[in-house]
């Protein structure tokens, strides 16, 4: 039997080869065929999930709720000390110094990343900005979000904090961060679908031991991770409940 693995489309392009290396490592460790399928956008990935094509996924917290509640997925692990935080940035030439300086009818640049946008809108809400009084401009990547801020096309941008940190220093120097979230509770997770559930404990053990071998350590490094930390069912349920509170 072969299995399908996918990764939330918000991973950094620099990590593309890392996910292929990880997939090869997993296949060798488990002695099964696993095909890594990377989707260009969140919608295409969700369609594949709904069609029961996916057995293993590195999921963003927004999709985790659907995977657990509707598709019977279970959490395995999360990257140690890697949290999903969001920031709001403007061009360095912008007069805005805090998000309270952003006004109604502002043009807000963002990607299609659902959890980032949800948290971003929550941050903007405290400045009395919401879906009804801003113009959202959606781009294919965070690089394009940054470019459109620098061009003066958009007034502010919503970034996954990690993706912003990965921008070149030259780009970052021309941007000004107004607000960075410190939620501390939201993270991506590696999860398994029903076809792999019988091997859950074995897979978890393999992943938790990865950083203790030279080979495994190298694979983790290619992903930009130090190690994996266990995610139990209640932690996942708690994060899903938390995401639910942020959705309105």
């Amino acid at each position: 039997m072969s299995y399908m693995f996918t990764v939330s489309p918000d991973f950094s392009p620099d990590r593309l080869s890392g996910w292929y290396i990880f997939n090869t490592w997993m296949q060798r460790q488990l002695g099964v065929d696993i095909h890594l399928e990377l989707y260009d956008d969140f919608c295409a990935q969700r369609v594949a999930t709904f069609s029961n094509k996916i057995d293993l996924i590195y999921a963003n917290p927004f999709d985790a709720a659907m995977l657990v509640r509707e598709k019977g997925f279970l959490p395995l692990v999360k990257p140690t000390d890697l949290l999903d935080e969001v920031l709001i940035a403007v061009s360095e030439n912008s007069p805005a110094q805090t998000i309270d300086d952003l006004k109604a009818n502002s043009k807000i640049a963002m990607t299609e990343d659902p959890n980032v946008n949800m948290i971003g809108m929550m941050l903007l809400e405290s400045a009395n900005l919401n879906n009804s009084n801003i113009e959202k401009n959606v781009y294919d990547s965070y690089i394009l979000v940054a470019k459109n801020l620098l061009r003066g096309h958009d007034d502010a941008g919503v970034f996954l904090a990690g993706a912003f940190d990965d921008l070149s220093n030259m780009v970052k120097k021309q941007l000004k961060v107004l607000l960075r979230s410190e939620i501390d509770e939201i993270h991506h997770s590696l999860m398994i679908g029903p076809k792999l559930v019988a091997r859950r404990d074995e897979i978890k053990e393999l992943l938790l031991g990865m950083d203790k071998t030279e080979k495994g350590h190298g694979v983790l490094e290619s992903l930009g991770f130090k190690s994996w930390t266990i995610v139990d069912d209640e932690e996942m349920e708690f994060m899903i409940d938390l995401m639910d509170t942020l959705s309105t």
């Binding site: 941050l123 809400e125 405290s126 400045a127 607000l179 501390d184 942020l246």
Partner: protein, 158 residues
């Protein structure tokens, strides 16, 4: 068990009132007019059991409430109840979440030192295997406009 507030914990000039807390009885409240601003970008997160006793708090909750984690775990969530909040708001909260639905509202919370802070609170029931086992409450920074509206509205609801 909920305790009366102590004079030695209060910072600044205070007023005194006794609040009748749902299921808990009277509590002596000492409160000041000192506001603590909501920490930018943070969420205040807590969970309770089905009776409203705190089972988990995050660091922002500890920081904003002024209590230690040890004081908070096991305490009723109404330890944060401010006398300026109309009882109807909390009745609506409990009526909503006990039906298994999400509740949202703007709340003025009371600190251990008698000060206060405004939040936009969302409370949802934690449903596990079809049963409500507790509640998660997440508080975020409210917009200044909405807080101003509540400061006008809430005194009319007593």
């Amino acid at each position: 068990m909920i305790c009366n507030m102590k004079v030695e914990d209060i910072v600044g000039e205070y007023q005194e009132v006794t609040l009748e807390l749902y299921k808990l009885g009277p509590r002596r409240i000492l409160y000041t007019q000192i506001q603590t601003p909501f920490p930018e970008g943070k969420l205040i997160v807590s969970t309770t059991d089905i009776d409203g006793n705190i089972t988990h708090v995050n660091h922002a909750f500890i920081e904003m409430s002024g209590y230690t984690k040890e004081e908070l775990i096991g305490a009723p969530h109404s330890i944060l109840r401010h006398p300026d909040m109309p009882p109807a708001a909390f009745k609506d909260l409990w009526d909503t979440v006990t039906k298994g639905e999400k509740w949202q509202g703007i709340v003025k919370n009371l600190r251990k030192d008698g000060g206060y802070y405004w939040v936009k609170a969302t409370v949802i029931p934690n449903i596990r295997n079809g049963k409500v086992v507790g509640y998660t409450s997440v508080r975020r920074k409210p917009s200044a406009i909405v807080v101003d509206e509540c400061m006008t509205l809430y005194p009319t609801l007593f």
